[in-house]
Amino acid sequence: MHIADGVLSPEVCIAAGALSLSVVGYSLHKMKSSLGDRTVPLTGMMSALIFAGQMVNFPLLGAPISGHLIGGVLAASVLGPWAGCVAITLVLVVQCVLFADGGILTLGANVLNMAVIGSIGGYGILSITRRLLGRGRFGTIVGAVFASWLTVMAAAALFCLEFRMSWLNSDFQFQNIFTWMVTVHSAIGIGEALITGFAVSFILSQRPDLLHSSEKPAGAVGTFSRALAAGVVVALAVAAFLAPFASDFPDGLEAVAERAGFNELAAEPKILVLDDYKVPIAMHGWQKVSVSLAGIGGTGVVLIIGLLLGRTIKPQAANAEVRE
């Protein structure tokens, strides 16, 4: 999951670093104003928790490997988007400097993909889902499941963009790598969604007050910034689904790159466009089908997981109300 050094070009690393630096800086500011003197113990403990939680292995049936939690949505659902983002950033920093896990130059890109998208974007999706489905257990769990899956997909899509920008001067075939990444990550995302869903439903049944509720500091968190964060992630996700259909046109990035006047591209733009058309039609069709299937299948599975988890919890909630 972590991008190693050498995969992305230094320019992309710098750009991603600058972007995540500003977002994390803003998160620090927001976090201090909302948590006050509880900032250090709460956020530090959350980072340590996510770090330790990643040691819990989840066996994969019939495979010699096992998965683990990423944790962006889990952190955000307890601490809120800003502190969650800082917590995941710290986890990534420590993994980089203590385990050499993920590169030091690509730290910015890793923070962007996992902390910013995972936590701030995930929180946006979570709160939108809760608005649609109600603020009870059902809405929260479905929201957490859906947000985890979408953020993993968005991170994969973002990685493809970063990777593509890193190899600008080659005759890069964006679609192939995109298909591969999105297909693999729709499966990884289901794992993350399951783990987060189970964990959130467990917390809801034990200590529901621990979960961050956006309602108490009504104006403080700001509907606007939430909507903005959610918008970014939804846009990325939509791009993930629509890209295979739109990509009959020469890829949008190439058009942008051409207009921006990158030297190599500007020198031979025609060859690039031609290369794209050289891809056999049959291949095009297959890719479209596979990406959309991955998308539709994944969405369906995630929705079913969310609904099932919500259903198993619901009777208890009803009982609790009766008891009161």
Binding site: A4, D5, G6, V7, S9, P10, G25, L28, K32, G36, D37, T39, V40, P41, L42, G44, M45, M46, S47, A48, L49, F51, A52, G53, M55, V56, F58, P59, L61, L69, L74, V86, L90, V93, V94, V97, L98, F99, A100, G103, I104, L105, W167, S170, D171, F172, Q173, N176, I177, W180, L194, I195, F198, A199, V200, F202, I203, Q206, R207, L210
Partner: protein, 221 residues
């Protein structure tokens, strides 16, 4: 688990360990950047740089068995990830990209391992402070480092309890549920612990500001 597990070779005395922390940091970053900017065609230079890093490890008394164990985990991962390139990017071009990525990432990985083993965590915090990283982040990092081990121990206890109740017999989905609940339980416990720690900090006059207590020689004095 103790900090000895993480900073295993951090306290060894050697030429590399005696370097000031910020020099170590700049050396490592410089090496990674150099490795990144070398084109694929000059692969002998990459090999040479990898040899240099190996020499650095030897100077720092890092055992080769440790290096090869870490590499044996890292290389198959990178291989698995980059093997898709020859298939997706056309064989010739994809092969070139794959070789470039493998060389660069191996060099960077070895360099970072060197840094990890040469610089203990407290030195890292001091270095970060020197590079104008905000005070809050440093405080958060040190707090996190303090509690990682506590939470690991707690996790270990919970794992033992889980195994004692014959975990591992059920279907995969059940195992997943139990493992996720383990994380949820750990979260609840650690948040309660954070509340207690916060009360204790308040009782000792915590007002949200970090007071420095580090071993950097004060240059003003």
């Amino acid at each position: 688990m103790t900090s000895g597990y993480l900073d295993r070779y951090g306290r060894v005395q050697s030429l590399c360990h005696r370097l000031p922390a910020h020099i170590q940091f700049l050396l490592a970053v410089g090496m990674v950047v150099t490795g990144l900017s070398i084109p694929v065609e000059l692969w002998p230079v990459q090999v040479f740089l990898i040899c240099v890093v190996f020499a650095g490890h030897t100077l720092a008394h890092v055992p080769m068995s440790y290096l090869f164990r870490r590499l044996s985990l890292f290389l198959p991962m990178m291989l698995l990830l980059s093997i898709s390139l020859p298939f997706s990017q056309g064989f010739e071009r994809g092969w070139e990209m794959m070789v470039a990525i493998l060389f660069r990432s191996t060099l960077a990985f070895l360099t970072m391992l060197w840094l990890v083993n040469v610089m203990p965590f407290d030195q890292l915090l001091i270095t970060l402070r020197r590079f104008w990283v905000p005070e809050v982040l440093i405080a958060l990092l040190s707090f996190m480092y303090r509690y990682i081990f506590v939470l690991w121990d707690e996790l270990d206890k919970m794992r033992v309890a889980r195994r004692a109740r014959s975990f591992g017999q059920g279907r995969t989905i059940h195992q997943w549920k139990v493992s996720a609940q383990l994380i949820g339980m750990l979260l609840i416990r650690s948040m309660e612990r954070a509340e207690r720690v916060h009360s204790a900090m308040c009782a000792r006059g915590w007002d949200g500001h970090v007071r420095k207590l580090d071993s950097t020689p004060n240059t003003d004095a």
